[in-house]
């Protein structure tokens, strides 16, 4: 009886046009909003780490104020990266099978290992080497539970002699170098999960891992810009304009690369017009019109390209406040644009039938595991974790150690390393954007 009613409801609400395989005629796609968030969050991790590597590996000194903030951002988001994947599984209790008995030809099987490697071997260790000397100092300066916490974080290694600290920096540097290919691996591999599906002409594409890596770098840097500006505003600190300018310069060039590769992908698709091109054309014109043409291409790519590009040429003529506003809006637009891109890839790839004869519709629910609410919670969660991290590890009351190997003047707001004195003593300014 229930089955009959279900069938009637299915027939009463046509949510597909043309012919779709009967197994595809489900009310919502198999991979929905949770799987949209999974590559989005993973991409933010990879991008934020690349941002931090600019300081550590490529020695871009101007970016030092955001070094630690970027690493903590990557860490907070990395902790949340597997959650959507896990929640989405039909049997989450069997998730460890992926690591215990991996099937090595599966692109998904390696995720557990790549994730564990990146979390344990790269990010966690790099953070620890970077913070160890500070932990030792803070554990003596801070009373109560917080002091105990810092003492715990030192894992008993209390040696802060110069050679020990130098060794920390050296190891951190090596980890950073290892971290860059690891970050690319982490996200390129996520791209490969989709790129390897040859059954789906929207996904099965050799450029997919590269597109994912580039969009990850873009979104990660944009997130760091966003976090830096918001944190400065919350703490009423002056924004280091030199740092912000350079950060957004990198953001611009990464966006140029990203846009070029995605454009190349589309040019190739349109020119070769292989099997399934008609249905893809229909998708771009109808089903994904808003998220693809407006969300991803116009507001997510073209407008920030214009804003950031014009600032590369005319930076001298734009006052600081104007620049800050343009940077902030570009970062927010890019963050939304990359989210739209993930949506277009994941949902777009499931809105047409593999028979290439029909398309489905998808209306997101509010409640439920795959609804708006859950999606919002999973997007906010990393920010909550990041807030805790910022309270603990970027505290305004605690002094940070200077780097013997690195210089810098530490003149302004600093969420990387202060060189010497406590951050609380830094000038309070009008960084409101």
């Amino acid at each position: 009886m229930t089955g009959d009613i279900t069938n009637y409801v299915f027939e009463a609400m046509p949510h597909f046009e043309g012919y779709v395989y009967p197994n595809e005629a489900t009310p919502q796609p198999l991979w929905s909003v949770l799987i949209v968030l999974y590559p989005y969050i993973t991409g933010l991790v990879a991008g934020a780490f690349i941002m931090a590597s600019l300081v550590r590996v490529f020695n871009v000194r101007a970016l030092e104020p955001v070094y630690r903030l970027s690493l903590l951002t990557a860490f907070a988001f990395l902790l949340c990266a597997p959650l959507p994947l896990l929640f989405h599984l039909g049997h989450p209790e069997r998730c460890f099978e992926v690591m215990m008995t991996p099937h090595l030809t599966s692109p998904m099987a390696i995720f557990g290992f790549v994730y564990a490697w990146y979390l344990m071997a790269v990010l966690l260790l790099e953070l620890w080497f970077d913070y160890r000397a500070d932990f030792v100092r803070w554990s003596t300066l801070t009373p109560g539970l917080r002091g105990v916490l810092y003492r715990l974080f030192t894992v008993g290694v209390m040696d802060v002699s110069e050679p020990a600290v130098k060794l920390d920096h050296k190891l951190g540097h090596i980890l950073s170098i290892v971290g860059i290919p690891s970050a690319f691996l982490l996200h390129g591999y996520v791209g490969f999960i989709f790129g390897s599906v040859k059954a789906n002409p929207w996904w099965g594409n050799v450029l997919m891992p590269i597109i994912f890596i580039m969009s990850a770098v873009v979104s990660g840097i944009a997130l760091c810009v966003f976090n830096y500006m918001v944190l400065s505003w919350i703490r009423r600190k002056t924004i280091d304009m030199k740092c912000l300018d350079i950060m957004c310069m990198f953001l611009f060039y990464a966006l140029v690369m990203d846009a070029a590769i995605e454009a190349l992908d589309w040019i190739h698709r349109v020119y070769s017009a292989e099997e399934g091109f008609q249905v893809m054309q229909y998708m771009a014109r109808e089903k994904l019109f808003y998220t693809l043409n407006l969300g991803q291409a116009t507001f997510g790519t073209a407008v920030p390209l214009l804003l950031l590009g014009s600032l590369q040429l005319l930076r001298k003529y734009v006052p600081e406040l104007g620049r800050r506003r343009m940077y902030f809006s570009s970062a927010v637009l890019i963050l939304c644009g990359v989210l739209a891109m993930r949506w277009n890839v994941v949902i777009g790839g499931q809105l047409f039938s593999k028979s290439l004869r029909g398309v489905m519709s998808y209306k997101m629910e509010f409640a439920g595991l795959e609804g708006w609410f859950m999606g919002a919670v999973l997007l906010v969660l990393p920010f909550v974790i990041l807030t805790v991290f910022v309270k603990l590890f970027l505290s305004e009351q605690l002094p940070t150690s200077s780097l013997p190997a690195e210089g810098g003047d530490g003149e302004s707001n600093n969420f990387g390393r202060a060189h010497g004195g406590p951050i609380a003593a830094l000038p309070v300014g009008s960084g409101r954007d």
């Binding site: 279900t6 049997h91 040859k198």
Partner: protein, 269 residues
């Protein structure tokens, strides 16, 4: 200075390599034995999958679209109601070209209401305008190089030596990757068990000497089933191969389907 390679050293290495090669078949047998213990299939005790090679073939010329096969499959395999099918029947209607259009044929309509389980409604176009109309039963294509097996992150879906592509429901984590990877739309996520599911050729039946439910009920013998390793006199599957020029679905994807079709059109995908 490069290290000197002594004769003894070299011989030792060659010996080790030979020993490695010699133990390969042993390792393979051991792996198969372990798999047999680990994997749960509905086959009876004593069934030896290496002694069979099951296959199905479809003669679309014979299919009348009655839908009995799809219905029998749902019942036999307890497939839940709703858009979940291990097998289904598609109806193709190709119209004549409009006079003077210069085209070789008109439009193609495809439908499959309820998997074709209860037959099909009236044709969407008048009979006089139809160039071709035919039914195509669909099922797991039993690919030689299955995309679904390749992508399963835990190896819950696997190629059985007897030709069936099976899923271990106690092992499947329900990630849905295989469903995305199957080009033929043959898989679905069972809403009750939360695991992936597909046609198993009625594994519980064929391993006991019975035919799959769909083959059993087909009134026109459009579905042909057989064991390639144990041909019987007047074997229907061998006759099918001899009497028909066949094609497989989506051959360009390199999945090498083992289910062959006779009497289908280029529009079928």
């Amino acid at each position: 200075m490069s290290k000197q390679v002594s004769r003894r050293n070299l011989l030792g290495k060659i010996g080790a390599a030979l020993a490695g090669v010699a133990t390969l078949p042993l390792a393979r047998t051991a792996k198969a034995a372990v798999q047999k213990v680990l994997v749960s299939t509905p086959a009876p005790k004593g069934y030896d999958p290496t002694r069979h090679k099951w296959v199905m073939a479809i003669d679309a010329n014979r299919c009348i679209g009655c839908g009995l096969c799809a219905e029998a499959c749902k019942t036999e395999n307890h497939v839940p109601d709703g858009p979940f099918y291990r097998t289904w029947i598609e109806r193709y209607v190709i119209t004549k070209p409009k006079p003077g259009s210069g085209a070789s044929r008109g439009e193609t309509f495809v439908d499959c209401p309820n998997g074709g389980m209860h037959g099909f409604p009236e044709l969407p176009v008048p009979k006089s305008e139809i160039q071709h109309s035919f039914f195509v039963p669909k099922l797991c294509n039993l690919c030689e190089h299955s995309a679904c097996v390749q992508v399963c992150p835990v190896g819950a879906t696997f190629d059985s030596p007897d030709g069936a592509v099976l899923i271990d429901p106690k092992y499947c984590i329900g990630c849905g990757f295989c469903i995305q990877a199957c080009p033929y739309g043959c898989r679905f996520l069972n809403p009750v068990t939360k695991t992936a599911e597909k046609c198993t050729l009625c594994y519980h039946r064929i391993t006991r000497g019975l035919k799959p439910a769909c083959v059993e009920v087909c009134p026109t013998q459009a579905r042909v089933f057989g064991d390639l390793k144990n041909p019987v006199p007047d074997d229907p599957i061998q006759q099918f191969y001899q009497n028909n020029k066949v094609q497989a679905l989506k051959p360009h994807l390199g999945t090498d389907p083992r289910v062959f079709y006779a009497g289908i059109d280029k529009e079928v995908r």
